[in-house]
Symmetry: D2
Subunit: 164 residues, 4 copies
Amino acid sequence: MTQQPPQSEPTQSPAEVLAFANQVIAAQSFSTLIGAQFTDITPSQATLRVPLREDLRQHHGFAHGGLMSAMADISLTFIGALALGPNVLTSEFKINFVRPGVGEELVSRASVVSATKRQAVTRCDIYAVKGGDEKLVATALGTIVLADVPTSAANGPTTETEGS
Amino acid sequence: MTQQPPQSEPTQSPAEVLAFANQVIAAQSFSTLIGAQFTDITPSQATLRVPLREDLRQHHGFAHGGLMSAMADISLTFIGALALGPNVLTSEFKINFVRPGVGEELVSRASVVSATKRQAVTRCDIYAVKGGDEKLVATALGTIVLADVPTSAANGPTTETEGS
Amino acid sequence: MTQQPPQSEPTQSPAEVLAFANQVIAAQSFSTLIGAQFTDITPSQATLRVPLREDLRQHHGFAHGGLMSAMADISLTFIGALALGPNVLTSEFKINFVRPGVGEELVSRASVVSATKRQAVTRCDIYAVKGGDEKLVATALGTIVLADVPTSAANGPTTETEGS
Amino acid sequence: MTQQPPQSEPTQSPAEVLAFANQVIAAQSFSTLIGAQFTDITPSQATLRVPLREDLRQHHGFAHGGLMSAMADISLTFIGALALGPNVLTSEFKINFVRPGVGEELVSRASVVSATKRQAVTRCDIYAVKGGDEKLVATALGTIVLADVPTSAANGPTTETEGS
């Protein structure tokens, strides 16, 4: 894709965008619970990391699929907000699990596949990091949409569609 | 669908299946972390509940999309294991978010759409419960597959596909 | 789900809605090419049929997966238009194939899972009909959205999102 | 991804693989009906083209979403067969539509995201070609699995899962 995703706030430096992203994360008690943290954000990619704590496993000791799904949700939504602006909703996503998650850390790298004014299609790949070696464990593809009504409380992306 | 999903252990009573399901949940530190619990399992439906604690929210106070994704992963996998036997892997799933999750509790109801010997297609609907009233907040559709190699450690469904 | 999908044109009779649906189909050269026809539409379900002609097969003689995907696209979009009004776009969908399509006809039954003013989540099940017996061959879940700009040419649902 | 998808028939030249792919296409009456043709296949990418004939449109004159879905099905399945061997089944896929398909031709480029012995996760991007200019119109992500029982008739990938 040669198209440029429209930058919501073009005057922000990468460090400012990263700080803003982690402010949103800090305001999400669930993201804090699982220990998610953005570590690098460029105009084309957002990197989210989760240390693979003992309390994030399934019964065989691997990273839980629900954890990877949660990382996909956070990653896909944030990179969509980077293209559309902060007042977005996550419409849906799909995730494929390709290998057990073993190691010290999970890292998700998200990018924009395509963006119009109102909708961004985003993808992410999630890797397990073990001794410096990265292995793909999951891949996801999702749809982020601009929220209808600008709310005064809008200080970051939301994950659900509008109520009815 | 009129087809009967093959019961993996037809001699178990519903109470025994429910106890087994919650043993698996208890062995998954991540499922324990988010407070997930099966409360009802019939041959055609598995009901999973998560009390909407303060630490499971996004920045607007709604249930985090990552939490709903995790519930979908757990629900879809378990109902697939009910059809295929405990030694299964979750290949993939898709989730649509339809409304913000507001209330005291989230409840996911999962069922089997179709099952062959090696693969089950499963779906779940996730509701937010507020004052006894249920509203649909998300719906998911996924694919659960039989694991290749019976492992001695196989005491419940896993969420990732085999390593390579 | 207890919620009522908002009827776009509540004064139309079921027969009028069916006639309108098949006018849209007739205006879609691709839908005509594959022989798709709506045969029954109620407020809660739209039934689309495709006779399984010799030129709609894959190399083993079964219904081609691409044909089932096309039926899913048509079905999901139309039932979404029934909820949102005719000026809609199909954002995305997911399809699971569960069994080879063998028989005289394929039939897709679509319904609305959830609808707000701007978005409908829709699902369909596709069956192969052989000697009066129906077997599920595929199931799909998708997202239909209201188009941004009302166009004067808007005489039926479109399948793509807005250009940029 | 650094991993190499296992080549099913490593002794075949690219030209032989391309000829084989188009033999399978020629044996699929539906693929022939829509005019699909592979034009380039490398170990990492398969390119499928469909001239945008008048009878492949929706009612606004754009490429029909069902056509793009069918191309995704063919592309994702074939690149999966390239990794797993010819005896495969398409389990499922998801497609996002991002822009109306306008031009002389649609082209789909498919690649393998991850492959184990029994399953390949594959993706494709579909572009509309107009006056030599390519624009992304859809993107898809799917799961291809090895068929259980080697059949003597197995001379190419199938799109449906095993019967039951």
